[in-house]
């Protein structure tokens, strides 16, 4: 019994949902398609609750860190930022009916912390790439040489200065993107879908139980 509700029914739910929606993508029948759209709506609502897990995990991790007196300042900053934004925004939304998009304080948090934080953190990668370019990008083998060569040509071809240095850089770049790149990426797309199909078959057949989270 317990195995039925713990394992078999969730698995059956997965398989049923998968085939129900796969049928919807392949077949045309109005009642069926409408039902599927409602199903998509329901699953979208359910899926948005997944965010609760990372909120809880973040809170738990950082409360623990504060208790253990590790990274007290950082963890408190994180908790305050997270919960203050959430509580105030939810209060304004649920009680006063102000959409978060129109809520002034929430938008200030976005443009003062979230947006610059995200953008800066990724722009740091520009420095890392430059350093790695100097240190690690070596023409060690034929494969690495091809990689480097096409990389350098594309970099010059895509920036306006490349065309000033040598008029054929953009032409070469276009050829590289149109031919070897199309072939290579198309292969990755094809091989990706083949691998995913095999994985999904394993999941549907119940051989891949990883998504169930644990072994009981």
């Amino acid at each position: 019994m317990s195995l039925v509700v713990k394992r078999y029914i969730p698995h059956a739910v997965l398989v049923a949902t998968a085939f129900f929606l796969a049928g919807d993508t392949l077949l045309l029948e109005k009642t069926y398609n409408d039902l599927a759209t409602s199903g998509v709506k329901a699953i979208s609502i359910i899926g948005s609750f997944a965010v609760l897990i990372s909120i809880t995990m973040l809170s738990r991790l950082h409360v623990r860190r504060i208790q253990r007196r590790r990274t007290v300042i950082e963890s408190s900053v994180l908790l305050v930022c997270m919960w203050a934004t959430m509580i105030w925004g939810l209060f304004r939304f649920a009680v006063q009916g102000v959409s978060p998009l129109k809520e002034f304080a929430v938008q200030q948090v976005f443009s003062g912390i979230v947006s610059p934080g995200d953008a800066t953190i990724y722009s740091i990668l520009a420095f890392f790439i430059a350093a790695a370019a100097y240190r690690a990008f070596r023409a060690r083998s034929i494969e690495a040489t091809i990689l480097l060569g096409s990389g350098v040509i594309v970099m010059l071809g895509k920036a306006p200065i490349g065309e000033m240095i040598w008029g054929y850089f953009p032409v070469l770049t276009t050829w590289l993107t149109d031919v070897p790149n199309t072939a290579g990426v198309r292969t990755l797309i094809l091989s990706g879908i083949i691998a995913v199909t095999a994985l999904y078959v394993r999941i549907i057949l119940g051989y891949e139980r990883g998504w169930m989270g644990r072994g009981d």
Binding site: S48, P116, A130, Y134, R138, M155, K158, P160, T174, I189
Partner: protein, 269 residues
């Protein structure tokens, strides 16, 4: 050598042309951008262009100027634009872009007639599938207004994605899901204002499914030239040029050093 000198060099190489623009010519406008421009240009007036905002704040540096230029083009041609965000932190960028081009968001007189912002639709591909099957999927727009009361949707024959003229994806994560949920099912072509990292992924679909796209900041700069609205993107191209050149030089110097040290019998690889 301390790697931080390298960081300093990058900072300088990018900063100088920003503070003192050299005004290098943009060069030839790429075919991909031109094709996208021509496609939007040839769409009949009042066509529906759907814009998917999937740019994180990081990717916004590349995608936002493209979005602004595209909205400008749509406004010039009198097209209808339907916005929606497929990730939470992309939502404010729709408002931002509307403010830049139209000067207002939901208060604009044509909001609800020519422009509608659907806000965030969760679950990425699943959400897009829902929207494609039923344009009233979300019921209300991002500001809480009822969609069924809007003039925007009134003359749409089927109320699904087959009414759309073009779907444009802005972002850095993936474009395959747009093609497989919209283009191949409903026939509405895809275009993109994508971060340069994603560009390689566009070519296998170009030009049969993706009719054209803007490659990061450069693509946006080209589009700005085409719609004659010089803006954000053009200003960054000098810095792009210099820094690419610097990185190429660093790669070459690094390799010369590598080969020089390999030649010496004592020097390890």
């Amino acid at each position: 050598m301390d790697v931080r000198y390298m960081y300093l060099l990058v900072m300088i190489v990018v900063s100088i042309p920003l503070l003192k623009p050299m005004g290098l010519p943009l060069g030839t406008i790429s075919v991909e951008t031109t094709r996208m421009y021509q496609y939007i240009d040839k769409l009949p007036s009042r066509s529906i262009i759907v814009m998917i905002a999937d740019q994180s704040p990081a990717a916004a540096a590349e995608c936002q100027p493209a979005m602004v230029a595209n909205i400008q083009h749509a406004v010039n041609k009198g097209h209808r634009v339907l916005f929606y965000a497929s990730r939470t932190d992309a939502v404010p960028f729709i408002d931002d872009a509307m403010k830049v081009v139209l000067g207002a968001t939901s208060d604009h007189p044509n909001y609800g007639k020519l422009y509608v912002n659907l806000g965030y639709i969760p679950e990425g591909e699943l959400g897009l599938k829902g929207l494609a099957a039923d344009v009233f999927f979300t019921g209300r727009d991002a500001y809480g207004k009822d969609l069924r009361a809007m003039e925007f949707f009134r003359d749409l024959p089927k109320k699904d994605a087959s009414d759309w003229g073009l779907i444009i994806y802005y972002g850095a994560s993936s474009v395959d899901w747009v093609v497989r949920q919209i283009t191949d099912v409903y026939g509405c072509k895809t275009a993109g204002g994508v971060a340069a990292v994603l560009v390689t992924r566009m070519y296998p679909y170009y030009p049969h499914s993706i009719i054209g796209f803007q490659t990061g900041l450069r693509g946006a700069a080209e589009y700005e030239v085409l719609v004659k609205r010089p803006g954000e993107a053009a200003a960054g191209m000098d810095a792009q040029s210099l820094s690419h050149l610097a990185i190429v030089i660093m790669i070459i110097v690094g390799n010369i050093g590598y080969y020089a040290s390999r030649r010496k019998p004592s020097g390890g690889g």
